[in-house]
Structure formats: C-alpha cells, structure tokens
C-alpha cells in the first residue's frame, strides 16, 4: 500500500516535472512565434528606407500588442538596430563605447557587440511624429489622465472626422474634466468638416472664443469653403472673438517678455549701481565679474554632476564669494590708488577686463562651456493655449526682485550699509566720525562685484558661458544705471524694467536690430534733457 502510494506520488512528481520543463521550453518559443503581423512589421524595419519604416510603424500600430508598443517606444529613443550580417532586429543599450543587444521579438540577450556590427533603423523627425501619434492613440485608454490628455492633444494637431467619431464614443465615460474638454474640441473640429449644416453651426457655437491654434485654423478653413451667409457671419464673429482674446494675451506676453528682459538688465546692472553709482568708480571689468560668476556655476556643476538641480542654488553664494573676492583684490590692488581720477580708473579697469578674459581663455579654453539647465527650471507654465510663461524667465524675474530686496536691506538696515552711505555722501566727515573708509571702500566694491557674480549665475541659464559673456552686458549695464540715475537703487530697478518692456514692445514691429537702436537714441535724448537720470539725487549729496 505504502509502496503503491509512493509510486503514484513519484509518478505524479515526474509528471509535474515534465509539465514544468515543457512550460520552460515553451515560454521562449511562444514569444518568438509572435503574431505574423508583428513578425512582418519587424522584418520591414530592417531597411535604410524611411518610407518602409513608416509602413512598418503603421503595421506595428495596428498589431497593437505590448511588444509592438515597446518596439515603437524604442524606435523613438533610437534604440532599434539590426545586425548587419543576419538582419536580425535587436534593441540595443549603449554600454560605454559598445552596445548590449537583445532580440527585439523574444527579448533574448545576445551579448555585447561593437558598433560597426550594427546598423541603426533610420528614424527622422517625420517618423518620430508618426510614432508619437500612433503611440498616443494607443494611450487613449491609458488609466493615467495625463497620458490620455497628451493623446487627445496629439489628435488636436490633426483633427479629422475619424478621430472625432472615435472620441465621441469615449467622451461619455471620461472622468477627467480637462481630457473631456480637449475631447470636446476635437469632436467639434471634426464636426466642422462634416457636411451637415446643423452640426457645423453647433460646432462653431462651441468653439467660439477658444484660443487653441487648431480651432482658429479649422474655422478659417471652413470660412473659405462655406457658402452659407449666416454660418459665415457666425464663423467671423467667432474668429473675431478669438482674435480679440489673442490680442490681449499677446500684450500680456509682451509685458512678461519685457519684465524678464528687464530683470536680466537689472541683475547685470545692480552691482554696477553700487560700484559706479555709490562709489563713483567706472568699472569696465564689471562684465568680467559677471562672467566669473557664470564660470563659477560651471565649476560647481562639474563638482556635483549628479545634483544639477541643487548645483544652481549652491552656485549663488559661491559665485557671490568668488566674484566678491576678485572684486576686493581689484579694489585693493588697483582702484584705490586711482580714486578721484575717473579716466585712469576707466583705462585701468578696461585693462583688467582684458586680463580676466584672457585668463579665462587660458584656463577654460576659448570654447563656450555648457552649463546645464536643471529640470525644475525648464519648461513652461501653460496658462492657456495662447499664453504660456517660460519657467526659467519666471524664476529669473523672482530672483532679480529677491536680489534687489536683499541689497536694499543691506544698504538701509545694516551697519555696513550705513557706513557705505556715509562714506559716499561725505568721506571726510565719515572718517572724522571714526568710519574706516578704506575698509568700507573694499567691502562696498566687493559687495557690488559679488552681486555681479550672482547675476552671472542667472545669465548662465540663459546664454553662453564663454570668455565674451561679460562684454555683451557691460554697455547695457551702464545704460541702465545712467538712465535710472546714478546712486539710486530704485532708479536702477525702474529703468531696467522700463528699458526691457520698451525694447520688447518695439521689437515686433521694428525688428531686434532697430529696436535696440531706437532705445539707445531715446536714452541719448533723455540724458540731454535730464543728465542725472530718472531719479536724480537731491541735496548736498548730489554735488559730491
């Protein structure tokens, strides 16, 4: 009995073993006999011809399995290759200078090979667009609302009756209001192209005042085709409403652009407002102090390559200290011997600026250095489809105001600020009161230089970090300080913002070159009339 039981148990165990091993055998085999459509599509991908790849993309899309989706996604990331010898389609991951490959259909690991053994399946912009579009349609049923929204937005770029019909079925069940709204627009746009008068009118009604570019294009197209007078009037009214809205948004956008340009100007100039405005030193090396700040950002990023997001924050105090120290060295080493001789100061600091530029060229090479923009600073804040504000500019406006506020507080509320103001108003009297004017000079110059360095951190996020960075801003900086009124921080703020906004309003109709010229002419005329700028200093200090 026991023996029989043992026997049956054994045989059951053996049977189980056979089953599992056959499953193990079957598994990869099943993956490789992927649907014939998938095999055909991947076969098509072994080519150099874009048109053939495009066909394969359509086939993969209609096949629709997870594997097909994976291949499409890999195509998008340029990871699909084929082996030159046996035309096997593989997915490749770059490992240093070689590629780790696995079969595109079975996922079987095929080891690491040299680049020249492989040929990349060609994908260009046009194909990537196609892939994104088909992936998006696959995403329409994605549980994630953002993915669905992206999918619908893809359709919005190319609205047609077919996609409208598809969405109409799904609209009922859509829980997310944003997605539903986008779907509504696609459906309405689809209706615009339909032949039915009633539907068209409904659609125009619905789209009235919507600022999405696709809406405007759709309505315009209908206006060309339509021959019904009432419908035409409706469309025109809708278009007028849209245009009026766009007008307002475009003015708002221009103001934003102007303020952001203005804040860059203020940041660049505010350090100068201290050295030139308060101390009266014409510092031609100011631009290079900005440049040093930008290079400090670059070095900080080199030191912490895995924390790009934080590096920019760390760079702010670092740049302040580095540029500030360089400033103090310049002041102690050169400028203090030249107080009261503006021409010599100008020449000496100009020389210093050349020295600093060439030093940077020698240390970092004349090539520009790449400073990465952290991810939290890139992208847009999309208020609606007609108005979106770029995040980096928004941060820089805020940053500019913070720097201004900090500087203002230092000058008004601290002992150093008091001494700075005292020395700048009446040096002899201040000394008589026991202020160590030399130390105050050095610290003031260091403060102005440090702020220039901080401006460099902001500029590194907008423009090239190269030896010529400073030269591009020195003229603008002087312009802002002189226009605002020498020795007045508020003047600098107001004048920077004014010039920025004026520039941006002139630019659309005069062009960038002429706009700049017009602004310069305006300043020349203004200075003729009011030589002391917008906010002249009054009283005894003004004579000093």
């Amino acid at each position: 009995m026991a023996a029989a039981l043992r026997h049956s148990l054994l045989s059951a165990f053996a049977a189980l073993l056979i089953v599992t091993s056959s499953i193990v055998q079957i598994l990869p085999a099943r993956a490789s006999d992927a649907s014939p459509a998938l095999q055909e599509a991947t076969g098509q991908l072994v080519t150099k011809d874009y048109a053939q790849v495009s066909q394969a993309i359509d086939q993969l899309a209609s096949e629709g399995s997870d594997r097909a989706k994976l291949i499409l996604e890999s195509l998008l990331e340029r990871k699909v290759f084929y082996i030159k010898k046996d035309k096997q389609l593989v997915l490749a991951e770059k490992v240093e200078r070689e590629y780790k490959i696995r079969d595109a259909l079975t996922d079987e690991e095929l080891g690491i090979v040299k680049k020249r053994k492989l040929k990349k399946v060609p994908v260009n912009n046009k194909l990537r667009r196609e892939i994104r579009a088909v992936l998006a349609t696959m995403d329409l049923k994605n549980p994630d609302a953002d993915a669905r929204l992206a999918a619908v937005n893809q359709m919005l770029d190319r609205p047609d009756a077919a996609s409208a019909e598809l969405l109409e079925g799904m609209l009922e069940e859509e829980p997310d209001s944003r997605v539903a709204e986008a779907m509504g627009i696609v459906i309405a746009l689809g209706k615009l192209t339909s032949g039915d008068q009633q539907q068209r009118e409904e659609a125009v009604e619905l789209l009235d005042g919507n600022t999405h570019p696709a809406v405007r294009n759709g309505l315009n197209a209908l206006l060309q085709q339509s021959d019904d007078a009432t419908l035409k009037a409706d469309i025109e009214r809708a278009l007028n409403n849209i245009d009026a809205k766009l007008q307002i948004y475009s003015v708002l956008e221009n103001i934003f652009f102007g303020l952001s340009l203005g804040s860059v100007l203020v940041l660049a100039a505010i350090g100068l407002a201290i050295t030139f405005g308060v101390m009266g030193v014409i510092n031609m090396a100011h631009g290079e102090l900005i440049m040093i700040g930008a290079y400090t950002t670059y070095v900080i990023q080199l030191l912490m390559p895995n924390h790009i997001g934080v590096s920019v924050i760390v760079a702010i105090p670092a740049a302040f200290i580095v540029s500030g120290l360089v400033g103090i060295v310049i002041e102690r080493g050169v400028i203090r011997y030249l107080y009261g001789r503006p021409l010599e100061t100008l020449l000496a600091t100009f020389g210093i600026s050349l020295i600093l530029q060439q030093t940077v060229r020698s240390i970092f090479s004349p090539l520009n250095r790449s400073v990465e923009t952290p991810s939290w600073m890139s992208g847009v804040w999309e208020i609606n489809s007609a108005l979106s504000l770029t995040l980096n500019r928004l941060y820089i406006i805020i940053f500019c105001l913070l720097v201004f506020a900090a500087l203002f507080m230092i000058l008004k509320k601290t002992a150093l600020g008091l001494q700075v103001r005292a020395v700048s108003q009446n040096r002899a009297m201040a000394r008589a009161m026991g202020v160590r004017s030399e130390r105050v000079d050095a610290l003031t110059f260091g403060l102005g230089s440090g702020i220039a360095g901080v401006a460099g951190v902001a500029l590194s996020q907008l423009t090239n970090v190269g030896p010529n960075l400073g030269q591009a801003y020195i003229i603008d900086s002087f312009m802002v300080v002189v226009f605002g009124g020498v020795g007045n921080l508020w003047g600098t703020l107001v004048s920077g913002m004014t010039l920025g906004v004026a520039n941006k309003f002139l630019e659309p109709w005069a062009g960038a070159v002429l706009a700049k010229i017009l602004v310069l002419i305006f300043i020349i005329l203004f200075i003729q009339k009011k030589p002391r700028g917008l906010f002249p200093q009054k009283g005894r200090a003004a004579e000093g």
Binding site: Y50, S370, L462, N464, G466, P508
Partner: protein, 433 residues
Amino acid sequence: MDSYKTKLKLTAAGVMAALTLSSASIAQAEETIKVGILHSLSGTMAISETTLKDTMLMLIEEQNKKGGVLGKKLEAVVVDPASNWPLFAEKARELLSKHEVAAIFGNWTSVSRKSVLPVVEELNGLLFYPVQYEAEESSKNVFYTGAAPNQQAIPAVDYLMNEIGVKRWVLAGTDYVYPRTTNKILEAYLKAKGVPEKDIMINYTPFGHSDWQSIVSDIKKFGSAGKKTAVVSTINGDANVPFYKELGNQGISAEDIPVVAFSVGEEELSGIDTKPLVGHLAAWNYFMSVDADENEEFIEAWHKFIKDKKRVTNDPMEAHYIGFNMWVKAVEKAGTTDSDAVQEAIIGVAVPNLTGGFSAMMPNHHITKPVLIGEIQDDGQFDVVWETSGLVAGDAWSDFLPGSKDIISDWRAPLSCGNYNVKTFKCSGQNYE
C-alpha cells in the same frame, strides 16, 4: 619719455635681429617650402579658428613625415590676425612679401576674406578658404573649399520641402553679409518653387543676440497656422545657444518646428547643453560621425596630434584637409610652387575627401562635395538622415539672384575670368585685366 622710446626701439631691434637670426639659421639648415596659416588665435573668432590652425599644423607635420613636397620639407608660418579684419590684410601681406609663403590657408569670416582679397591679388598669392560662405565671388588667387550656398543651403531646403513636407519658412539670421545674401538666395529659390510671400518670414538679429523670447514666440505663432513650418537658421555661432534654449523652453520640439542650421557643427555643440537641440538639423558636407575609412584615420590622427581624445572634428577642418591635399597634388603636378603654375595645375585635381569619395577643384575655384543633412544627437554628434545622391559642384554665382544669374566663372584659358557675363560677353569685377 625719450629714454623710454629709445629703450623700446632698442628692444624691438633686438627682437627683430633675434628673429632674423633664427629664421636664417633654419633656412641654412635646410631649404623648405613655407606655408602660411592665417587664423585668429585671439579675440572673438579664436573660438573657431584656433582649431583650424591646429589642423593645418597636423596636416603639414603628416606631409613632412611622408617626405614633404618636391623633396623639400614644409614649414608652417603661423601669424595671429587677432579677429581684427584690417589686421588680416596686413598679416597676409607680411606672409606673402616677408615670409614668401607658397600658399596661405586661412580666414573664417567673409569680411576678413574680403579684406585679404586685394592683398593676395596684388601679390599674386594663393589663399585656401575653408568655411561655408555666401559666394558671389571668384578670385584668381582664392580657392574656396567650403560650401557655396548651392552646396549647403539649397539642398537643405530641398530636403525640408520634399522629405519633411515643409510649407512655411522662417529664415532667421544674424545681421551681416553671409545670412543676408544666403537668405536673399533662399527667398528667391523658395518663390521660384511656388512658396507664396506670406509663407516666408525673414528675421535678423544683432550679433550675440541673447534675448530670443519675442522672436521664438513669433515663430511659434507663425508655425501654428496649420502648415508644416521649419526654421532655416543662419544665426551665427554664439547666438545659437540662447536661441535653442528658448525654443526648448517654449516647448517647441524638433518634431513641431525643425531648425536647420548652417553654422552649428560639432565644435559649437561641444560647448552647449545639447538636450534642447536633439532632433534639430544641420547641413554640412562632412560630419564627424560619417562612416568612412579616411574619416576614421583622420580622427585618429587628430586625437593623437592634439593629445585629447574628446576633441571633435568638423566641416571646415575637412575643407582644409581637402584644400591642403589639393595644393600638394597641384604643386607636385606643376613641379614648382610658383603661384601661376599652381593655379593652372590645380584645376581638375581630385583628392579623397573624408566622406569616402573624391572632391575635385572646379574651374571656378570651388570644389565638388556631397551634401549631408544630420540630426543633432544628445552626445553632440550628428546622425546623417539624408545626403545628395552625387557630388554637388560649388556655384560661385547664384542662379537665383537677378544680379548674378547670368554670370559664370572659369579660370581656364581662354576665358580666364571670375566674373563673366554670358549675356553681354563682358568680363568684369575683381582681378579684371
């Protein structure tokens, strides 16, 4: 003050004497052929031109390893025109009359070439110019190894029009001669292809423009009219970074509005955070990523010479490679370095280029090249997505400008003219005798 001046004079004289002595001693040691290198090593253009100086030094060193030319060693004479256009002319004169160089390889900007032009024509020198330019020029003494507009701009536009289906065009450039002329040619070309005026937007910005907000926002609006839009960019070097950054920030990807650039190469990309640029295009006659044996050898030699494995190669370097080899071959063919003999011998000379083919010097002093379109990758390299089926010969006088469409250039006898009008049968313009 006086004593200071005398001191200065004395030092100067001393330095000069030392210089003459040293060069004399070299000359005594061995008779050499001198090659002038006229590239800025300081100032704003140093960023691009220093590399070309190094390329020339490498090519000369390699040629000397092979035994030089005509049994003589080559000797490089390097001068620094310091990104100062008039100084280019002075330095060219110095190279030709003082050092008596057999040929000059140099210049980057068109304005510097224009400044050198009268000097090389007066002294009958040879100048090899390696950078893409606006053409509308053909001098007896200059060999243009960079691309003319029909070897870069026009094929790029064809690619966008036929392969990508672009219908609306933004021509954006920096405000100076190369973009203005190129855009004039492109505008005429687009109109000839039936693109209506309202679908072309032309925009110029100052050098080093850094605030691109309004322009990018305009491009975005221009591109949202329902037709496929592309930007053809002749924006000069430095201004490109903020431009691409702003495109990225305003959410314009290469798939929405591709930008094809004529001044952005591997060298420029090495100083840029390439993330926002991926997928945008550039048109050149050479990319470092081209799969060819000559190219691999060249890159290897370059890395060995410059002692830095990270340095990239670019299109103007290839132009110098071609130009230098053409000159060597022409000198050997002529059996002398005499300027007139070389000018005659070099026409029709073909040498391997770095893309696996041959480039030949045409009678108009321009060369034949393939045209490649590359997409920018995240590693700062280009992925070639399209190339012309054959070689394209450089056209000195554009067929799309009303002023120059009847003009041809042919430096062979009996025409021997760089500016010949086929309607009026008159030869005019530079170097007209």
